[in-house]
C-alpha cells in the first residue's frame, strides 16, 4: 500500500476486533461521502435522479398497462431492454480488463485505478438486473426464480445460469471493493489472502458472465442468426473493447476532477488492450459475415435484413452501418502510432468504439434474431418512447451509482477519510466529527 493513511499504532490495534461498530460506521461514511459535494456534483446527481425518475414512472405505467406500450410483438419479442442488457453484461465483463494487467502482470501503477473497473462492474450488473426486470411481463412474480422459494429450472435453462453468474459477479466485486476500501478505511494493509484469490476468480467469472449470456442466444436452434459458435467469443472481444473504452474516458475525467493518481501508464495499458481487442472483434465480424454471405441459403436472411434490408424492410440498416463505420474509424484511431500523444483523439476513439459496440451488440444482435420470424414473416420493430424512457432511466441510475461509489471510494483510497478509535463502550452513532478530514469537500 503506497499511500496508507497516517495513523498511530494504537488506533490500528484497536481497529481489529471492532467490526461490529466499525463496519456500520464505514457504511455510513460511504453514504455521507457519496451525498456530499460541490454544486456541480449536486447538479449532476439531480439531473441523473430526474432522468431515473422519468424511467421509473415509465416503467410503472408499463407494468400497469402491459407490455403493449412497447414496440415488441410476438414476432420480435425482445427489444431495446434485452439489447441493452446484452451490451451492459459486456461492460461489466470489460471492467475486469483493469484487473488483468494490475494483478496478473503486476503493474503496480494499475493498483490504484483497478477499483474503477470493479466499481464499474458493480454498477453495470445492477443495470443488467434492472434491464431484465423491466422486460418481465409479471415482475411481481420474480420470486418464482428464487432457488428454494420458487422453481429454479437449473441446470437446464440458460437463464438460470445467467441469474447465478450475474449475481455471483455482483457479490464478487462487492466483496473485493468492500474489502479493499474497508481495510484502507481502518488504516490496515489489506491481506492478499482475503482478496487476491477472489480477484483471480473475478477474471474467470467476468468471462463466464459474458459466455453464459451468449449461450442464452446461441443455444436456440430455431434462430439461425444467433446459432453460431462464434457468438460467445465475439461477445467477449467486443466487451473487451467497450469496457476499457468506458474506463479510459472515466480515468481522464477522474484525473481532471479528483486527485486520484491516474498514471499515463495506466491509460496506455488500456489503450493497448483496446488496440488488440478492437481488431479481434472486427476480424470475427468479418469471419461471420463471410460464412453468411458466401454460403448463402436461408440462414442468410437475418444478416441480409440487418445489412441491406429484406423485402423492402430496412429498419436496422442505417444503425448497423453506423456501427460498422464507428468501429472501423475507432480502430484506425486507436492504431495510430502516436495516439497516446493526443488525449482528445483517444477520448473520441473511445466514444466511437463504445457507441459502435452498443449498436452492434445491442439492437444489431438481438433484433435481427427475430427478423424474419421462425415462419419467415418479416415484422419490424422500433422501440417506443416508453422503452427509450425506461432505458434512459436505467442508464441514468447506473451512472448515478457509479458516480456515487467513486465519490465515496476516492477519499478513502487517498486515506483522507479513515476511521478513528472509538472505545468499544461508546456505541454512539457515528457523527461527522468522528473522522479525519483533510479537505472539507472531499
Amino acid at each position: 500500500m503506497q499511500d496508507a493513511p497516517t495513523h498511530s499504532a494504537e488506533l490500528l490495534e484497536g481497529a481489529k476486533h471492532r467490526h461490529l461498530v466499525t463496519y456500520p460506521h464505514f457504511l455510513w461514511r460511504l453514504f455521507v461521502l457519496a451525498t456530499e459535494g460541490g454544486v456541480a456534483y449536486y447538479v449532476w446527481m439531480v439531473v441523473l435522479t430526474a432522468v431515473a425518475l422519468v424511467g421509473a414512472n415509465a416503467w410503472a405505467n408499463q407494468a400497469a398497462d402491459g407490455m403493449i406500450v412497447t414496440g415488441m410483438t410476438d414476432h420480435v419479442s425482445w427489444g431495446l431492454y434485452i439489447a441493452n442488457f446484452t451490451f451492459i453484461v459486456g461492460l461489466a465483463a470489460g471492467g475486469v480488463m483493469m484487473v488483468i494487467p494490475a494483478y496478473l502482470y503486476h503493474q503496480r501503477k494499475m493498483h490504484d485505478v483497478v477499483i474503477v473497473g470493479e466499481l464499474l462492474a458493480i454498477a453495470a450488473i445492477v443495470m443488467c438486473l434492472l434491464f431484465v426486470t423491466v422486460d418481465l411481463g409479471r415482475p411481481e412474480r420474480f420470486w418464482h426464480m428464487m432457488p428454494g422459494l420458487g422453481r429454479f429450472n437449473w441446470p437446464i435453462s440458460m437463464l438460470t445460469w445467467d441469474v447465478i453468474v450475474l449475481n455471483g459477479y455482483l457479490l464478487i466485486n462487492l466483496h473485493i471493493c468492500g474489502y479493499l476500501l474497508y481495510t484502507r478505511f481502518q488504516g490496515r494493509t489489506p491481506n492478499p489472502r482475503f482478496y487476491l484469490p477472489i480477484v483471480f476468480l473475478s477474471v474467470f467469472w467476468a468471462i463466464s458472465i459474458h459466455t453464459v449470456t451468449a449461450f442464452l442466444y446461441s443455444g436456440l436452434g430455431g434462430r439461425p442468426f444467433w446459432n453460431s459458435a462464434l457468438l460467445a467469443p465475439r461477445f467477449l472481444a467486443s466487451a473487451f473493447v467497450a469496457g476499457p473504452a468506458f474506463i479510459i474516458v472515466t480515468m481522464y475525467l477522474l484525473r481532471r476532477l479528483t486527485d486520484l493518481p491516474i498514471s499515463t501508464q495506466a491509460i496506455k495499458t488500456l489503450v493497448q488492450v483496446v488496440r488488440v481487442t478492437i481488431l479481434i472483434n472486427l476480424l470475427m465480424v468479418v469471419s461471420e459475415l463471410f460464412t453468411e454471405f458466401y454460403t448463402g441459403g436461408s440462414h442468410i436472411a437475418s444478416a441480409r435484413y440487418l445489412f441491406f434490408g429484406l423485402h423492402g424492410k430496412s429498419g436496422l440498416v442505417p444503425w448497423i452501418w453506423t456501427a460498422i463505420a464507428l468501429n472501423v474509424v475507432a480502430a484506425v484511431m486507436f492504431l495510430h502510432p502516436r495516439v497516446m500523444d493526443h488525449s482528445h483523439l483517444i477520448k473520441l476513439a473511445c466514444l466511437f468504439a463504445f457507441v459502435g459496440v452498443w449498436i452492434e451488440k445491442g439492437m444489431g444482435l438481438i433484433v435481427p434474431g427475430f427478423i424474419p420470424s421462425t415462419l419467415h414473416e418479416i415484422v419490424e420493430y422500433a422501440p417506443t418512447l416508453v422503452e427509450w424512457k425506461i432505458t434512459a432511466g436505467i442508464w441514468a441510475f447506473g451512472i448515478l451509482i457509479f458516480t456515487a461509489m467513486l465519490k465515496a471510494a476516492i477519499p478513502i483510497l487517498k486515506g483522507r477519510v479513515a476511521e478513528v478509535h472509538l472505545p468499544i463502550t461508546t456505541m454512539n452513532p457515528p457523527t461527522d466529527s468522528a473522522e479525519v478530514t483533510a479537505e472539507p469537500n472531499g
Binding site: 435522479t49 410503472a60 419479442s77 411481481e140 418464482h144 429450472n153
Partner: protein, 312 residues
C-alpha cells in the same frame, strides 16, 4: 488535521453542517416523494392482484383442495372482470394416451376456419384477432417457408399454391420447456405442452426458443366481450389469460381429455385434420402414420414434433 482540531472548530461551521444536513434531509424527502409519485401507476395494477394470487404456488404444487380453491377464485375473477359465469375444469391426462395431430396438405385449402375457431374457442383478445394457428400460403414445389405468406386476403385456394397450417407441434424435445427459467411450461404425460398462466413471469424466453412461432404473449389483458366468452374452460387451456403471461396451443385439452375433438378440427370444412391417440393402434392417426408419407417441420432441429403433415 487531527480529530480534536476538527472538533474544536467553532460554531459557524457546525451551523453550516447543520444547514447542509437539513438541505440533504429536504433533498432526500423530495427525492422519496418524487419516487413515490413516479411509481404511483403501480397502485392501479396492485388493486387487481390479490395476496392469494401473488403467493399462489405452482400448479404442480397445488394439492386437490388448494387447486379447487384457486379454481373457485379464478371463476370469481372471471365474473368480476368479464361479467361472465364460467366453469373452469382441470381434466388430467388420461393414462395410456399420447396425442398426435396430422394434416393432409393435399386437402387443406387455406380457408382459415381453423384459425377462427381457435380464436373463439380459446377466448383470444378480440382486438388483435389472435389465434394459435397460422396458415402459410406456399409456392407449389417448395417447402421453403421464406416463400410463404400468412397475410393473404384473396379467394382460396389460389392457383399454384398449397397451404401449410402451423401451430404448436407439441414437441417431444421442446426447446420452449428447456429454456423456461421457472418451469412455468412443461410437457404433460399425454404429450401436451402446457403453461401455468399463474406461474409464468413473462420473460418470453420460450417465445424466442420456439422454432414454430407457436407461442403468444399477452401484451395486455385480453379483451373479450362477455357474450363472446366461451364459458367451458380448462385451467391449463382456454381460460381467459392474465396480462403479461405466455400462452400457446394446448390441443384443446379441456375437450380432448374428455374424448372430444379439438375445435380447429371440428371447424375444418375439408376434413384435412386428423387427431388421435398415438398409443392406440386402431386410431385414425396411427393409420395415417402407417399408410401415408408423413413428415414433420424442421426435423433437423431435433424437436421431435407430435404434429405431422402428409400429401395424398
Amino acid at each position: 488535521m487531527s480529530d480534536t482540531q476538527t472538533k474544536s472548530v467553532s460554531l459557524p461551521v457546525l451551523g453550516q453542517v447543520t444547514r447542509r444536513t437539513a438541505m440533504k434531509g429536504l433533498g432526500a424527502t423530495l427525492g422519496l416523494g418524487a419516487f413515490a409519485a413516479a411509481i404511483s401507476p403501480l397502485a392501479r395494477k396492485a388493486k387487481d392482484i390479490s395476496a392469494e394470487e401473488l403467493l399462489q404456488k405452482h400448479y404442480k404444487d397445488l394439492d386437490g383442495d388448494a387447486r379447487a380453491k384457486v379454481i373457485a377464485r379464478l371463476e370469481q375473477d372471471a365474473k368480476d372482470q368479464y361479467g361472465k359465469n364460467v366453469t373452469i375444469h382441470d381434466p388430467l391426462p388420461i393414462p395410456g394416451t399420447k396425442f398426435g395431430y396430422a394434416i393432409n396438405l393435399s386437402v387443406c385449402n387455406g380457408n382459415g376456419k381453423c384459425v377462427e375457431a381457435c380464436h373463439e374457442e380459446n377466448n383470444h383478445d378480440r382486438g388483435s384477432n389472435q389465434s394459435y394457428i397460422r396458415v402459410l400460403e406456399m409456392e407449389r414445389g417448395s417447402m421453403d417457408m421464406e416463400k410463404g405468406n400468412t397475410t393473404y386476403t384473396h379467394a382460396v385456394p389460389a392457383e399454384d399454391k398449397f397451404y401449410l397450417p402451423v401451430q404448436c407441434q407439441q414437441c417431444d424435445e421442446p426447446p420452449c420447456v428447456d429454456v423456461c427459467p421457472v418451469e412455468a411450461t412443461w410437457k404433460e404425460s399425454d404429450g401436451i405442452v402446457v403453461v401455468d398462466y399463474n406461474w409464468c413471469i413473462g420473460c418470453r424466453y420460450c417465445e424466442a426458443a420456439c422454432p414454430y412461432h407457436a407461442r403468444r404473449f399477452n401484451w395486455k389483458a385480453p379483451n373479450v366481450p362477455a357474450e363472446d366468452i366461451n364459458p367451458e374452460q380448462g385451467y391449463l387451456s382456454n381460460r381467459v389469460r392474465p396480462q403479461g403471461v405466455m400462452e400457446k396451443c394446448h390441443f384443446c385439452l379441456h375437450r380432448t381429455r374428455e374424448g372430444r375433438m379439438p375445435a380447429c378440427l371440428e371447424a375444418c370444412p375439408t376434413g384435412a385434420r386428423i387427431f388421435g391417440n398415438l398409443l392406440d393402434p386402431d386410431s385414425e392417426i396411427r393409420w395415417v402414420l402407417k399408410n401415408k408419407n408423413v413428415f414433420v417441420l424442421k426435423e433437423e432441429l431435433g424437436t421431435v414434433p407430435s404434429f405431422f403433415y402428409f400429401f395424398d
